[in-house]
Amino acid sequence: MWSIIQSVLAALIGVQKDRKRQQDFASEKPLGFIVAAILVTLIFVLILILVANIAAG
């Protein structure tokens, strides 16, 4: 679980260790990554909205 989130966060900034990448691609099921990526993106957008609201406040 934590491993998946870590990989998604690494993908968000575009920096990943090769060892971790090979470990991720050893898994057969992409569903966990997809769900985690959508959730992380949603949280990121919500944070942006919050920051924008504080700035405009």
Partner: protein, 371 residues
């Protein structure tokens, strides 16, 4: 050698920046707090970019030179370096956020048009600006006053060639002035660099902006949105004056407007109308229909020796009051007052050998405008 460079480089850079300012290559510092903020942001971000550029290209060219193939340099074969990659992702993010914080603060301030002391409506028209002091019953058109002889190269160019108008926008200093900006025809853009205002005026929309000018002076600008053949001939001139001087000017303009309104009801002589009509023709009509009414067919029909115009007075008046849809001829019912329309109709019917003798009365025009 190194000490020479340490001294020479910053000196050259600062001298260059000052030179750019003096030559007008850089943006002006301007005369409002916002224009100064914008200038400060521009310079801060400029120097950030200079520093990044020097650093990145310095490292790059040094590496190219120091580790060149002819000296037997061998490429390092490694796949990744996570901490360096994280670092060169994080540093630009911090720089961008660092620039965004002050920029956002300035932007917020720019959009805050609340609590203005004075509202001025700015209306773009092909090809002039119209200014209306809301709630003050003062409104006028601001036409370029550069003579056509200068534009055609028949006379020497004046000091403020293409940047001079018959009626400047007069504004008080030290007061928050809100601009309500729109257009009667196509998109124009009201741009005065010293006030840091460049705002599109869009038909059917009202854009807001505001200024608070710190220093009295004359500030010039231009239409910044391509709006037709005379786009280059609708300059902006702002006279920023002391507050008491502004009050005197406003009172004079109000009085003049009242005088003009009273003039609608009385009978006007032909000579009077001709004298009043000529400057209106020059300011409003001549840019399309030309100085001697010869026009520029087919877009701009001739007015001199125009049989239909001479024969049909009502048709003539209707063209000016209501415009001609689908052509460049706008309706002047709200741009010119009845006296001005009567005078310019009279002028075009009697100048250039027309000699109809028609003295069109402002009262009759006022009736047509109400219809």
């Amino acid at each position: 050698m190194r000490s020479l460079w340490q001294w020479l480089l910053p000196t050259c850079v600062i001298a260059g920046a000052n030179q750019a300012q003096a030559n007008g290559w850089n943006m002006p510092v301007g005369v409002t707090d916002i224009s100064r903020d914008i200038y400060g942001l521009h310079m801060t971000i400029f120097w950030v970019c200079v520093a990044i550029g020097l650093l990145v290209f310095g490292v790059m060219f040094y590496s190219l030179f120091r580790y060149r193939h002819s000296k037997g340099a061998k490429a390092a074969e490694f796949h990744e370096h996570t901490s360096v990659e994280v670092l060169w992702t994080a540093i630009p993010v911090l720089i961008l956020v660092g620039m965004a914080v002050p920029a956002t603060a300035t932007l917020k301030n720019m959009y805050d048009t609340s609590e203005a002391d004075l509202d001025v409506m700015i209306i773009g028209q092909q090809w002039r600006w119209r200014y209306e002091y809301l709630g003050e019953d003062v409104a006028f058109n601001s036409n370029m006053s550069t003579p056509w002889e200068q534009i055609r190269g028949e006379a020497a160019r004046g000091e403020h060639y293409l940047l001079e108008v018959d009626e400047p926008l007069v504004l008080p200093i030290n007061r928050k002035i809100r601009f309500l900006m729109t257009s009667d025809d196509v998109i124009h853009s009201w741009w005065v660099p010293d006030l840091a205002v460049k705002q599109d005026t869009i038909p059917g929309f009202i854009n807001e902006n505001w200024v608070q000018i710190n220093e009295p002076g004359i500030y010039r600008g231009q239409c910044a949105e391509l709006c037709g053949v005379n786009h280059g001939f609708m300059p902006i001139v702002v006279h920023a004056v002391e507050e008491d001087e502004f009050e005197i000017w406003l009172a004079e303009r109000k009085e003049a407007a009242e005088q003009e309104a009273m003039g609608v009801d009385r009978e006007w002589e032909l000579d009077e109308l001709m004298a009043r009509g000529e400057p209106v023709y020059r300011a409003i009509c001549a840019s399309c229909h030309q100085a001697e009414g010869q026009g520029a067919p087919p877009a701009f029909p001739a007015l001199a020796n125009n049989a239909q115009l001479i024969d049909d007075l009502d048709w003539h008046i209707d063209r000016i009051v209501n415009g001609v849809s689908g052509t460049a001829m706008p309706a002047f019912r709200s741009t010119l007052n009845p006296v001005e329309i009567a005078a310019v109709v009279t002028y075009t019917r009697n100048a250039w050998g027309g000699d109809t003798g028609d003295a069109v009365q402002p009262a009759s025009i006022a009736e047509k405008i109400v219809q």
